[in-house]
Symmetry: C2
Subunit: 344 residues, 2 copies
DNA sequence: CAATCAATGACAACCGATTGCCAAAAATTG
DNA sequence: CAATTTTTGGCAATCGGTTGTCATTGATTG
């Protein structure tokens, strides 16, 4: 009944190839992974046989015997946050190019889930890339000591990292607002566990003092559009004329809420977002935001990680990269309203 | 110098547990995976030891010896397409709940990449979920015959599938437009390789005939916002007063282009999208679109797949689910313009 | 032409589990 | 209390590779 021609139906192994070529399995293994260790003629025979049998190495077996899994875990706090789309694509492309598999995990903004995941990945991945880690500095450092790890947007001494330089862009944003005449400005803070938010606030507070304007901090708010409503209300209540939001999600949510309340952007209130996510260019009004090469950040993170995994020539691998960020001005920022409360 | 207390530093194996309890490794294996096969007292001792040693089973070893990988591949044509965000989250959550790992792969809209990936996943995953497959019917059927597979939005007899019922929503959309007075309508087609697009057009053409209105097909267009410009131009040139777009990305792109060209939506042109992706509610104007429970679709796909993998009790598992879809009316659709060309 | 050495490939142990088979121990039955 | 059945747990093979060790081969050299 077998429609199959000669040859077994199950996937070929190195043993099948070995038998076909009349050599030992170990020779096949070497021919395929350490080509120099085997005579070129033997190697060619083996390669031909492998092709003929449509041989695919069994990743599990490879991992078990060699200890290397050819997989890299990528942890993000929230898959549905558009910010991570490009990041994920960047890591995915770069990893695939290097022959690695990406294990993507949504840690649901939870440090516990994150810790558990890191723990599990210890043996099923060669390394880990953690975006916007919610772990404590100590926990992150400990994790990095145990296995190759690269953090994205998390600056802990001793932990290799790719940092997106939003703090400096935040200063640009402030300059932009100041040049438009705003003097009372709010920073809409992100989660307290987000180091990005903390660093950005620090940069902003410093810059504000230099420029002699008032910047107050509101929040924290969850990095979701839904939080934008509360943020908008808080901003209005605080009497500021411009806001710099933790990220575009919150900023877009604010835009929606302000519209609902009948306030005009940017006439009554200017809004600056961060990340230039999908949607920032077509929301209403289009969002002024801090843009950065996110996909590239993902690629760089992979490169840094792979450099750790394969410490080949040129030992001087840097393990900390800073990605530039710039302000993209769109329609959500404009001149400060004339009749501001501060006159009274 | 070792700060570590007694006990090795490397991860514990079943052998460590076995030694600690004075039993054989096989007993440990059974205690952990087939609890009934082992005396309850022995089991408890083993469990205690496992906990004490912080034992984590080695997934690779498990996979190698048992043949089951506890991993499921999820293939999407384009990770950065927001449509897939919720889908991915749905599969991720459901898979995690069932103890499976999700292997996410971006097939880059390419049937070749998709075929290669399916081939590679054959041994490193227990099953596959393919969203919007670009494979031919035959290839997909062949793949499904080789390994457990569930297709999303792809209806091929013999292939388990989760279908998002956009065709019926398309008819609703048409009714909506007709009730607003539109008589010349365009369908902005998606990729020719997309079965969704084909099925939707068939539904639309049929419904249009019933209702005695003219619907013409424009395209194909790539499912990206950038394609929206060409689509908008084509629509304007064709003289229609309303468009039903293949998906929200194209629709949003059209919105942008029409605005650039000084045309008002919905006064001059009505636009209907599809999928209700992130951004559809805050673009300008907010998009009328066909919404469906995408995350749920992902969960259902996982359920269908797991039912294949573990064909336990209640053999009557259905392997085809249809997810309902409904029209969500927002600001991008309105009454047909009075002075339409057809008067002349 | 003999001695030395690098290249080559076979053998076997090993990675960490699972699982079929079987014997010893315990429980049940007559 | 003996005979039988059921539990229980050990042994060893197996999954598909990798890798250290070692014997053989052929090439290089004195």
């Amino acid at each position: 009944m077998a429609t199959q021609a000669a040859g077994t139906d199950r996937p070929a192994t190195i043993h099948d190839i070995a038998a076909r070529c009349g050599v030992a399995a170990s020779t096949v293994s070497r021919a395929l992974s350490t080509p120099d260790r085997v005579n070129i003629r033997t190697r060619e025979r083996i390669e031909a046989a492998a092709a003929a049998l449509n041989y695919r190495p069994n990743i599990q077996a490879k991992a078990l015997s060699s200890g290397r899994t050819s997989a890299v875990g990528v942890l993000v706090p929230d898959i549905t946050n558009p910010f991570y789309f490009d990041l994920i694509r960047g890591t995915q492309l770069q990893l695939k190019a290097a022959g690695y598999t990406q294990l993507l995990v949504d840690t649901e903004e939870s440090d516990e889930v994150e810790a558990t995941t890191v723990d599990q990945l210890r043996k099923s991945a060669d390394g880990i890339i953690v975006a916007a880690s919610r772990l404590s500095d100590e926990a992150l450092l400990a994790a990095a000591a145990t296995m190759p790890l690269v953090a994205i947007n998390r600056d802990v001494p001793g932990v290799p990292a790719v940092i997106i330089d939003t703090p400096s862009a935040t200063s640009q944003a402030l300059d932009h607002l100041v040049s438009l005449g705003h003097t009372r400005i709010a920073y809409i803070a992100g989660p307290t566990t987000s180091q990005s938010s903390t660093r950005r606030w620090a940069a902003l507070a410093g810059a504000a003092e230099e420029r002699g304007v008032e910047v107050r901090r509101l929040g924290p708010f969850a990095p979701k559009t839904q939080s934008g409503a509360a943020a908008a209300d808080a901003a209005v209540h605080s009497g500021v004329t411009a806001c710099i939001a933790f990220n575009d999600l919150i900023a877009i949510g604010m835009l929606q809420r302000l519209r609902e309340r009948g306030l005009r952007v940017p006439e009554d209130m200017s809004i600056v977002g961060c990340d230039d996510i999908f949607g920032a260019d077509f929301c209403n009004p289009p969002l002024t935001t801090m843009a950065s090469p996110i996909e590239q950040a993902g690629r760089v993170a992979v490169s840094v990680l792979l450099a750790q995994l394969n410490p080949l020539a040129g030992g001087g691998t840097r393990n900390r990269s800073v990605m530039p960020t710039h302000l993209t001005v769109r329609g959500s920022t404009g001149p400060a309203p004339e009749d501001t409360v501060e006159r009274y």
